[in-house]
Every structure is written in C-alpha cells, then in structure tokens.
Amino acid sequence: MQTPRHSAIVRVTHWLTVIAFLALLVTGLELVISHPRFYWGETGNVNMRPLFSLPLPTSRDTINNGYGSSMPDQNGWSRYLHFESAWVLVLTGAFYGIISLLNGHFRRDLVPEPGQRTLRAHFQRIAQYLRRKPPSTDESSTYNVLQRSSYILVIFVLFPFVILTGLALSPSFNSAFPFFVDVLGGRQSARTLHFFVTWALVIFLVVHVAMIALSGFWTRTRAMITGRVAAIPTEERP
C-alpha cells in the first residue's frame, strides 16, 4: 500500500537545500584552509593570538603552522560558489517558510503534538530508539517528537544563525546593518561562530542520514523523491 508522505514543496525545497548546503560546506572548508586560525573579537591576524588553530595544510603562505602551504589556492571559484549557493539556500528557505506558515505544514507536521511537548516524551522516544523497538505504524506517515524538535531546531535556529553569522562577514552588509556583527562580538567572533554552527549542522546531517539508513535507506529516500512510501517492509525494520 502506498501512503502520501511528503508534499511536493517539502521534497523540492529539501533537495535544493541538500545541494546548496553541500556546496556551501565544501567551499566553506576550502576557504578555511586559506586561514585555518580562529579568533574572538573584532580583529585577528597572524600577528595576534588565535582562539584556536586547526592543524591543516594551508593554501596560503601567510600561515606558518608547520604543515606547509601545500594546498592549491581554490578561493576564487569557492567564493563565487559559496555565495551563489547561499542565495539558493536563502531563497529556498524563504519560499519554504512562507508556504509552510500559510498551508499549516509547520503547525501540523513540525510542532510536537499537544501531549508530546515534554522532555519526558523526548526521552521516551530516545529510549525506544535505544531498545531498537520498531516504530509505530503512524510513524510512516508522520514525524515523531524527536524528529519534530530536531527539524524545528535546524529550521528556526541553526539555519537562521548560520545565515546571520555569514552575513556578518560581509563588509558591505555590515556597513548598512552594523547591529548584527556588533551583537555577535565583532567580525572575528562572527567568523568563529559561523564555523561552529556549520559543525552543528554537519552533526545534524550525519545523525539524520544515519537514522534514515537504520530505518530503511531506499524506502525513506524514495519517499523524499516520489512523495509516497510503501509501508516499511519488515526486513528493513531496525
């Protein structure tokens, strides 16, 4: 039996976000190796003490961290692609956000159900995962409380924060809206926070993909492509 799972808007915006995020991640890491030192405050450069420094080979000879400047400089296209992907992410997110507010997707599918808005409900679902108990049947047509809370965290906290910390690195954006960079503690603080929130998103991505793999990778992936899901076959149950 085939049951509807994801709406067309969710599927299209999901995959656009995947493409944009992976492009941002690869180009972002590429940009990091031109200066893998992180600072706190307004300014930071090799004449100043870093907050921390990554032991990576670099693409520029301004860095003397003992690992050499053996990496090729790819900052040109990486920068172009980073900002182009950022536009895709922001426009996709804005479209998804507006539609989901209007059509009730947030209210219906993402806000935890009334009886589930407790820490205890979250722990119960974690315990269920740990005991490898099979998911209840309605979980093939709706999200459980852990999914809802983590998707809300990603959509309403992590993505807005990674976008704001990124914008706070634009000298021209800062000239018009100095509030954002100042409230983050300065330009170098914004860069360091941009780096950390990226890793928070990577952790989400890893757990997200791992959970999909555990609950039937192709069934779940097909559902996000075609919008339909067959009842999860027993042999794919964890």
Partner: protein
C-alpha cells in the same frame, strides 16, 4: 487529481513564456539602474548579480563601521609584496617626489597630480577595518583625500559609469562603480596611523574602499580613468580579479 498531458504541456509553455518575458524585463530594468556587475556571465553570474544588485539597492549610501582610536590594531598585518619593479625603485629613491596620479578618460580636464598636489586637497581620516578574503583583519587609521575631490576637479562626463584605477604594476588594476567612486569613505590614502603610509601597506598611494574586501584596495595607485563601459579594459570583466577567478564586486 489527474491533469491531461495536453493541459500540462500548454500550462508549462505558458509558465515558461511568462518566465522568459519576466527575466528579460528584469534584465532591462536592472541594466538601466546599474545593478548588473561586469562579471555577470558564466555559471556564477546569477549569484554574483543577485549579490551586487541587492547591495546596490540596500547599501548604496551606507557607511563602513568606524572604530574608536583604542581599537587600532597594535600589529597590523601586511601581505608579503612581490619585489618592486624598476619604475617603483626609481621613484622610491627620489622620495616619491616624481610620483604622479594621472586622471584621464571621460573627463573635461585631464589631470596629473603629485603627492603634494593631493596633500593640498581637503583630507579626511577614518579608522576602519581591513578585511582580507582569507579571513584575517586589522583596524587602522587611514588618512587621505576622498576620491570624489579629485573627480569633482576633472569634470566627469555625465555618461561615466565606472572609475578604473591602475597601479605601478601594469597587471594590477581594478574598477568601481559610481556609488563607490563618490562614496565619502573611498580614500586616496597617503597616511596611516598618524604617519606616512608605509610601502608595505601600499604607500605612497593606496585606494582604500572599506566597504569591500582588501583585494579591492589596490596599492601603489598611479592612474584613474573614467569610462562608460568596462568592455574596453582587459577581458571586459571589470578588473583583473575575475580574470583570476575572483569576483569584481568584493563587498559580498
């Protein structure tokens, strides 16, 4: 819900027609209002155009953040320089007395200014941050005459759209639009932190653009050219940067 194939094709075609007409109209309006950067071609063109157009619509007149004197970096960092060419060495040996800033192109009165001539103009000091595309930064005080003082003396032709700037190195040049050219913080910089601008930081003359990344603030500036089109310069991409894969507009 079923949709007939014929209906799907006709509505698809109609949507495509509306989309193409809309894009063409947007392109015409954007060009008229100067929202298209010279490096708008290629796969990265759409992103770059969105960035530049958004910045020009929102931040045309905004001022870069200025800092209190206490925030000036104790040890500013200067990138290593390529060995200076013979022309530079000769001028340096003469204490830069023969350094000239040539102003030409679409102007009524071409100029050739010495550093002393520039010094006679009203000067301005700003404490702003230098932001390198690599990620590092520092704050310094920069002293010089705003570029608009020089432009106002030359009598620009009204159709001027870009100001091209060249340096003592023939292969290092760039350009800015009129919003940046007449921006009050765009400075022909001769001084830094109450002294002369050191050679390592671009002395004797550097064009500082604090609303863009450091690579737009070229060192050793020798020539300013007014033009209505970037097509005649280099590969027509606006500056030498896109020829090496870096964006022309560096305000991000």
């Amino acid at each position: 819900m079923t949709i007939s194939r014929r209906k799907l094709i006709t509505s698809g075609l109609a949507a495509a027609a509306v989309g193409v007409t809309g894009l063409a109209a947007a392109d015409r309006i954007a060009r008229r209002h100067g929202l298209i950067p010279p490096d708008c071609g290629g796969v990265f063109g759409p992103g770059e155009t969105l960035t530049y157009a958004a910045q020009r619509l929102i931040t045309r007149h905004s001022l870069a953040r200025e800092f209190p004197r206490s925030k000036i970096s104790e040890k500013p960092f200067a990138n290593a320089l390529a060995p200076p060419n013979d022309t530079f060495k000769k001028l340096q040996a003469g204490g830069f007395a023969d350094w000239r800033l040539v102003v030409d192109g679409m102007v009524n009165h071409p100029l050739s200014l010495s550093l002393a001539d520039l010094h006679q103009m009203p000067t301005h000091s700003q404490i702003t941050e230098v932001v390198c595309e690599e990620g590092w930064s520092y704050v310094a005080e920069w002293i010089g005459t705003p570029l608009y003082n020089v432009l106002n003396e030359t009598g620009l032709h009204p159709e001027t759209r870009y100001i091209v700037y060249r340096t003592i190195e023939p292969n290092l040049w760039g350009s800015i639009d009129m919003a940046d050219a007449f921006h009050p913080q765009t400075l022909l910089t001769q001084g830094m932190n109450n002294g002369d601008l050191p050679v390592g930081f671009g002395g004797p003359l550097r064009l500082r653009l604090p609303r863009q990344l450091g690579y737009k603030s070229l060192k050793f500036v020798t020539q300013i050219t007014a033009t209505d089109s970037m097509k005649k310069f280099g590969k027509g991409l606006g500056s030498v940067d896109p020829e090496y894969g870096y964006s022309w507009y560096a305000g991000i």
